[in-house]
């Protein structure tokens, strides 16, 4: 029937347009929330106890996990790099190469992913529950701006703590690679340390910290966005939590490429 065929192009176009449109909508929602967070973040009252509580939740409670992941990442990199570099007798470079990889990439990226999995999911679930049980509406009716009360402290905590955690990841990771390289794989400790000193320049650490700062902001913003605008009861909160983690991780990898290409002269 000709009537059946007519909608096909529309459906086909719609199937291309709809996802693109939703991506732009999503960016719009995030930009709006980010703008409101800045607007309300600079206005009094400054809710110091809430910020401290979030610093504790995002940062202090993540130290052990981030340290553990950092340790194993450093150890694995040491083993793999020694294995690879031995093929052409360059294992002396291992310390420097591992430190370079950790500082510029692994520390900020893996720290942000761990924070998204641990703290971001918690934020989305908590805010989502607050939305579905009308607690966010209650804040508004009591003349308390919910973005200022709930979102600002979480984003601030991400901005401060992800760089700190990335630094911890880096230090523990280098320690782990040193331990494996020197004690397990018989590398010379002096050369190992010397290569780190000569190969790592301040811009490597700076790039890592800039990434961590951007990731900290992005992960907490995306997590807050999905929790804050959650709908649909328990199922909706579950979906919001999943989306918060998935989109945070995707955003981290996307931004990692963009920042790397902007800050690295090849």
């Amino acid at each position: 029937m000709s009537g059946d065929e007519a909608p096909k192009p529309t459906g086909f176009i719609a199937s291309i347009v709809a996802p693109v449109k939703s991506v732009f909508e999503e960016i719009g929602i995030l930009a709006d929330l980010a703008f409101r967070a800045v607007f309300w973040g600079v206005r009094p009252p400054y809710r110091v106890p809430l910020v401290v509580a979030q610093l504790e939740f995002v940062g202090v409670q993540s130290v052990f996990l981030v340290g553990l992941v950092g340790l194993f990442t450093g150890m694995v990199f040491a083993v793999q790099t020694v294995y690879g570099f031995r093929r052409f007798g360059a294992e002396n470079m291992v310390g420097g190469v591992v430190a370079l990889t950790l500082s510029r990439e692994m520390a900020p990226v893996l720290t942000a992913i761990m924070v998204a999995a641990r703290a971001g999911s918690g934020m989305a679930a908590e805010l989502g529950n607050m939305r579905s049980s009308e607690q966010i509406d209650a804040l508004e009716t009591m003349a308390v701006n919910p973005v200022q009360y709930l979102v600002v402290p979480r984003i601030l905590a991400g901005l401060v703590m992800v760089p700190v955690l990335a630094l911890i990841f880096f230090l523990v990771g280098v320690g782990g690679s040193w331990a494996i390289g020197v004690w397990g794989l018989s590398l010379d400790p002096g050369i190992f340390a010397d290569r780190i000193k000569t190969m790592i320049v301040p811009s490597d650490i700076r790039q890592g910290l800039i990434k961590a700062l951007v990731f900290g902001f992005t992960v907490t913003l995306i997590s807050c966005r999905h929790g804050y605008f959650a709908s649909g009861g328990a199922v909706g909160v579950g979906q919001a939590t999943t989306r918060a983690v998935v989109w945070s991780v995707v955003a981290v990898f996307l931004l990692d490429y963009l920042i790397t290409s902007m800050l690295t002269e090849v």
Binding site: S133, E134, Q135, A138, M142, A143
Partner: protein
């Protein structure tokens, strides 16, 4: 019809559309100062959406909501936050902050909106908790108390600021009949003592006829009947009659409400109180 000077809340041509669904089709209503307006209607009629507009939790697609002469739908976030200090809302799902104790929940608006000392805050919050019979639960968290108690704590939190306009979203749902009547008495008390204007959404017809100065019936996003309980009872509309009769309420009840003060008498009191505050 109310005199314009007595009108506390005026809703004009309120239309709310979500996507392709129209929830409210041009609602017009006026709520007088110190009056209790009860909004009744079946599930999905748009009652909650209507009251969420009154407190600017939703923005109208079209139309205006004028409270005390100010169109609240045109205010920005900062102006709204200021205007909301005069409102209170009792939520259907209690909306207690589960990270705080019962006491901290009730003290929250006082801490946020006033400069009272911690001692005064404690005193005021405990008085409200006591009035609602939940003072023994002050140190517990919302997760540790029953639904009925949580409802009463939610009401205590809304009342503690002694607002001029109080909105109750199903205040008696989930409560036993005795507690429900206590809540009705409390709504009446707020009106009589402080001249509070109240908007109550309810399915509880006993409650509706007990406390209403006026009743508005909402069906599918339209007000189909509005007036005093007697007027609403007399409305010749099949849905209205079906709703009231099927609730099994003793319609004679509202005639025996004793020497209840009129909204006009109480409005005078409310104005004096407002002037006091301003002074």
């Amino acid at each position: 019809m109310l005199d314009a000077t007595d009108a506390h809340v005026v809703v004009e041509g309120l239309v709310k559309i979500y996507g392709d669904r129209t929830i409210l089709h041009g609602v017009d209503m006026t709520i007088g100062r110190a009056e209790t307006l009860v909004v009744i209607g079946g599930s999905g009629a748009g009652k909650s959406t209507l009251v969420r507009h009154l407190i600017a939790l939703e923005r109208p697609t079209r139309g205006r909501i004028v409270i005390d002469g100010t169109d609240i739908s045109s205010l920005n976030d900062v102006q709204l936050a200021k205007a909301r200090r005069r409102f209170g809302m009792v939520f259907q799902k209690y909306a207690l902050f589960d990270s705080m104790t019962v006491f901290d929940n009730v003290a929250f608006p006082l801490r946020e909106q006033t400069k009272l000392s911690e001692k005064d805050i404690r005193e005021k919050a405990m008085i409200k908790l006591k009035e609602l019979g939940v003072d023994h639960a002050a140190t517990l968290t919302p997760a540790q108390i029953s639904g009925g108690m949580a409802k009463r704590v939610g009401i205590a939190r809304a009342l503690v600021m002694e607002p001029e306009l109080l909105i109750y979203d199903e205040p008696t749902s989930g409560l036993d009949p005795v507690t429900s009547r206590t809540v009705d008495a409390l709504i009446e008390e707020m009106r009589e003592r402080f001249g509070v204007t109240s908007v109550v959404i309810t399915h509880d017809m006993v409650s509706a006829f007990d406390i209403a100065d006026r009743i508005a019936m909402l069906i599918k996003g339209r007000i189909v009947a509005q007036g005093s309980p007697a007027e609403v009872l007399a409305v010749d509309h099949t849905d209205v009659q079906a709703f009231i009769r099927s609730s099994g309420v003793d319609v004679k009840r509202f005639e025996n409400r004793g020497n209840r003060k009129t909204a006009a008498e109480l409005a005078e009191k409310a104005r004096a109180r407002k002037a006091d505050r301003a002074g």
